[in-house]
Subunit: 310 residues, 2 copies
Amino acid sequence: MTTQKRSPVQLTEVGPRDGLQSDGARVSTAVKIAYIESLVEAGVRQIECTSFVHPKWVPAMADAEAVFAGLRKKEGVRYLALVPNLRGYDRARAAGCDAIALFTAASEAFAKKNINMTIDESLATFAEVAERAHADGVAVRGYVSTVIACPYSGRVEPEAVLTVVQRLLAMGCYEVSLGDTIGVGTPADVRKLLRTLLAEIGSDKLVMHFHDTFGMGVVNVAQSLSLGIRKFDASAGGLGGCPYAKSATGNVPTEDVLYLLDSLGYSTGISLDGIVKAGVGLAEHLSHPLPSRVHEAVVAGRVRIQHGDE
Amino acid sequence: MTTQKRSPVQLTEVGPRDGLQSDGARVSTAVKIAYIESLVEAGVRQIECTSFVHPKWVPAMADAEAVFAGLRKKEGVRYLALVPNLRGYDRARAAGCDAIALFTAASEAFAKKNINMTIDESLATFAEVAERAHADGVAVRGYVSTVIACPYSGRVEPEAVLTVVQRLLAMGCYEVSLGDTIGVGTPADVRKLLRTLLAEIGSDKLVMHFHDTFGMGVVNVAQSLSLGIRKFDASAGGLGGCPYAKSATGNVPTEDVLYLLDSLGYSTGISLDGIVKAGVGLAEHLSHPLPSRVHEAVVAGRVRIQHGDE
């Protein structure tokens, strides 16, 4: 684990979308908007706000239009929305969204269950969306889930991930987020995956997206940093997944990743205390505590020490 | 982070003592004994069972004699007990204990508050105990708390830790456990500490003991591994500390550390599922869920993948 002092790291906040996907049905549009704005207030510069999927699939995101309508956007911040197809793209555009995310998988079994398409079908759909987006000047981000393992078919080989990433980049995605969706990966898996990807793709195009199902989120971030990755997704409070689902639980918490990054001397422009504050504001509206250890420790007023100035 | 395949790692279970110190008043002696025996059944070879401190200081450990009296000891397992002074040593010996742990700190402020002695006074007391122990053929383990920071006086310098460790080794401790008691340390702190210690002391004499207050337990284990450390303390389920205290929360969970070690190819002789089973048995008697992510994931039946055979 290297500590390149003050090296910038891009942290993308996925709490409002990935985090609230399962909790969101209980959270009002106004609360979602306030949550997004408080995260931006904390310094977040790229944020997943919602998803323009059909409400039948993700009821918690049925208010996607209302979220974008209510949002007071800040200059220099990228407000992303997931878009599954041209219909979703049109909805997103009508709502004033100018940055979209396209979501596929490295596992055929997962793609089939999650987006009801083969990987090829999803990429063909996305190519159409991407073409429209480029013509409209809309930024396009790519997502690949199950990059380490699939809940239905087991281990996923790095070469399968590489192919999908290359195809997303070829259609003009400015970066691709790589999700260990079910959070089973460890530093050994991350190393294996990234050695294959980084041999072919620049690190500025790759984002690591970890889930904390087996408590490996932070150590996997550290491993990725040591291999040259400087872009991560994280979710304020560690929200994400469903406590009763068999596959994913929460994303790696933004607070825990920030605690690590700050101490290693990486700069993100994001205030840890600001993120904790945003989480406190949201937590009132949830039926369970936030999973982040750092959130809990800060809220409980536990002793902290100064980091990052050594 | 190196992955020395099948390299042995010693994992010492501290759940029954460090973990139950705050919860223990609610747990019967019979449950404690069953818990220790189930952890040994899972493959644990060194385990902190209890503490022969005055019950006024740690009421949860008032049944130390009864725990040792009831325990069916297994050959080849070291059953440790904390001993603060000669009076505690006599109690431990009378209870049939043949492996003791001596507990001091690297911070004067913490030593004063926690054991009501200066560091020098504690070491003078321990020298007497260690001398008796060696004459009796009793194994002596050393503990140094607050090796990264103290809740009362802030950062602790590695040189202060080194001095205390060297004095404990000089009085015959077979190894010394180094505790980041308040769990604020990160890989940067661990590296700074271990570079100083490993320049003077063999890695076989040093044990890292992390708390998960800020979610850094697993990543700090990974950092220590990469620097050559092969001995760790951990607590089944992540028990430890008090949820309402201002300083420490739970130890790094044994399950989470095992998940990491198994995947990196280190051998511990301990079964992850066995530890989870022991935690399930104990959890029925606690008023809160176990903090370990891996425990939660395994109990929930989340998808797992095979590790450690690559």
